[in-house]
Subunit: 466 residues, 2 copies
Amino acid sequence: MTTTTRQATRRMSLLDTAFVNVETRDTPMHIGGLQIFSLPPNAPPDFVKNIVRRFRNTAKVGRPFNMKLEKTLWARIAPSMIVVDDDRIDLSYHVRHSALPDPGGERELGELVSHLHSQLLDRSRPLWTCHVIEGLQNNRFAIYSKMHHALADGISAMRLSARALSTEPDGEWFPAWEHREPTHKRKRTHDQARTVAAKLTAREWPQIMKQAFQPMFKREPGSESVLRPFEAPPSILNGEVTCARRVATQQLDMERMKRVAKAAGGSLNDVFLAVCSSALRRHLQSQNALPDRSLIAGVPVSLREAGDDSMSNAIGFLWAALGTELSDPKERFAAIRASMEVSKNHLKSLPQQARIAFTLLTSMPTALVLMSGLGAKVRPPMNLTISNVPGPEHILYLNGAKLEATFPISIPVQGQALNITCVSYAGQLNVGFTGSRDSLPGLQKMAVYAGEALTELETVFGVIPA
Amino acid sequence: MTTTTRQATRRMSLLDTAFVNVETRDTPMHIGGLQIFSLPPNAPPDFVKNIVRRFRNTAKVGRPFNMKLEKTLWARIAPSMIVVDDDRIDLSYHVRHSALPDPGGERELGELVSHLHSQLLDRSRPLWTCHVIEGLQNNRFAIYSKMHHALADGISAMRLSARALSTEPDGEWFPAWEHREPTHKRKRTHDQARTVAAKLTAREWPQIMKQAFQPMFKREPGSESVLRPFEAPPSILNGEVTCARRVATQQLDMERMKRVAKAAGGSLNDVFLAVCSSALRRHLQSQNALPDRSLIAGVPVSLREAGDDSMSNAIGFLWAALGTELSDPKERFAAIRASMEVSKNHLKSLPQQARIAFTLLTSMPTALVLMSGLGAKVRPPMNLTISNVPGPEHILYLNGAKLEATFPISIPVQGQALNITCVSYAGQLNVGFTGSRDSLPGLQKMAVYAGEALTELETVFGVIPA
């Protein structure tokens, strides 16, 4: 473990450093993904095992899958990454072959993935693992992967895993961590905020922060309805977070959502927020814990104009009132839409650099931790984060196995026990609910409520007959 | 989580406190056990699931399974335990239902158990988990359990799990954590060292330590051959320990071992050490890493007279030369026997209280950490620990399923990447090898070598024809 040369060291950005430093036993800082595949027709009995074998037989591991934390005394203060030589990467450790107990349903899968997502990554190795899971009902198998947030954000991780699959059943596939020569230069627009952040020095941050936050705390005439941090009501979503996680999933049809958006006069994202709002309201009601005032969600959003339905990259971060105090679904939708509109206009009024800094500082779990100060002990800056990540548009395959769904699994932090993130994939919105186990005993039900909420919206907005 | 009353708080002993305080991400301080069961004839398909169900339906949880660490600022310095009310114990978290991927052999079981043993326990809950594992070849299933060393030592944990099984196929069984009214007072002799330790105050330790260690560091005439701490040669067993574990197992027939002991003129424990020595020698040779001088094992031993073959409770702790530098098995056996004899006599010469303190300070992983100072960075006080734990003498059953084997899984610490522990059960010695993954890539082979070493000893001592 000592043969790595100095040249291979990479200084980490302030942001990535923070992801390492704020990690505790109770709040691991890795992001996860759950992919569900259907076995191809006439798949041999060792189909899954052969995938595991191929995954472990990777000749050359590419970045960031070959990066680990440097382990020096100095690195405890200022973490840096080093590249691990291929012959030191123990792929039989990183790639696991797991199985579900009988009957191998969504329940058993949810339990396994919840436990896998609860476990800290080994800091003496590259910071990722991949678990190929056999025994899933109806001729399916699953792959759960996780990676430290210091190596990649959700969008990058999604792209890394999607590019390893093929768009044809018999097309080429490879392990996501296998080194590939780049075929062409990608446009780097997708990750503007992170790119800017990586370049900022410690000296530049205070000025940027001042620019970004000062307008938020000056109450100007006419801006009464702009939500600001720490206006969120206390709730059971904002208690202590311990290390056990609970993961639940739901798939929503994007065509159905678009029809609702059109009928209701809002964006696809407004519909998604309304679905989440309804699910949250029902869940909190069932626990006798619904606050009188609206729950506030932190929402990374696109700043494109209304009418643009694409689930594109978030380049702004807003506080949105979810209208959870309202029992009428139409009123709730109107409240969400109005709140988002006001917040977007506010954000647009900021100078561009301040907007990016603002987005950065408020959209990342690290920032949430820092903002919440003592975590569960102070008033929550918001009740939860609801994000969407653009995913692959076309059906993908792994050795002929069709990717049926791909769910993001994210990071709860102290004082923010729930995260809802969705990924678009081939006409479906794949929603991942990630919660701290003790705060969210009914998380599976909340996912079910989300599915029912879409039907309710279709009904009240006349998309389907009541 | 805040309803627990003050009365339920229990001050921890200095020793148990140490187990909590020395724990790091790389060196979890939990002990484990792996039980292998054969399914009873005509077991229904949901036999294992019904066990999981019964395990989760425990009306009242008994000590120490209802104890968790108190989470106050003061408790970070001086940890204490609190009793968790039954309605706060989430048994569906503590009891897990797992499965092995096809073909469900010892290899797949070993991989799963290795990963489970690598993971830290959740400090916000009672410090144990139990994993019921289905899908083991040849109509078997397994149970892997783990518990923090601050709650119980190996002997106590073994007794807790054995008492929950029945001695008849149709006898009563219950979850090990279920509260039972004590039927009769047990004699407390089995845990003398720990009991004494629990009573010692911080003020008494320095005097006891002086009594115990001063004689060790005075070289007296005629005591040249007594091994002392830090005489062990550097070896690959004494490098850095990281959090991933590797677990391997072996069963040795105790009748065969007794015949060798008789023919060779030693104890059963001498034979066990000779088996370990041979396995270690072959493993290190295969890695071109066999030290010129003998490996030194820390061995908790009974101080009973020679000829007494019982694997009874360790009440002394010795440094034993394993003779790994010798190629002849007979010479190796003689070296081990001689070294053990000298060490036993030396230990017997200490005053009783000093002997107990000495045992305590040297036999526990905590002590190893403290003694080794900077862990992997200093000369090892010994190369590894080899212990035996007395287990059940008669066949045990769980709902009619026969317990085929029960393996102890122990704790490597910084600078001590390997632990070998055995448990006697119904005429077999069940040996668990627990290693740090990176230090011991060939651990499974070492377990195989141990089996072959017994045959070699039978041959050289004429128990079976060459």
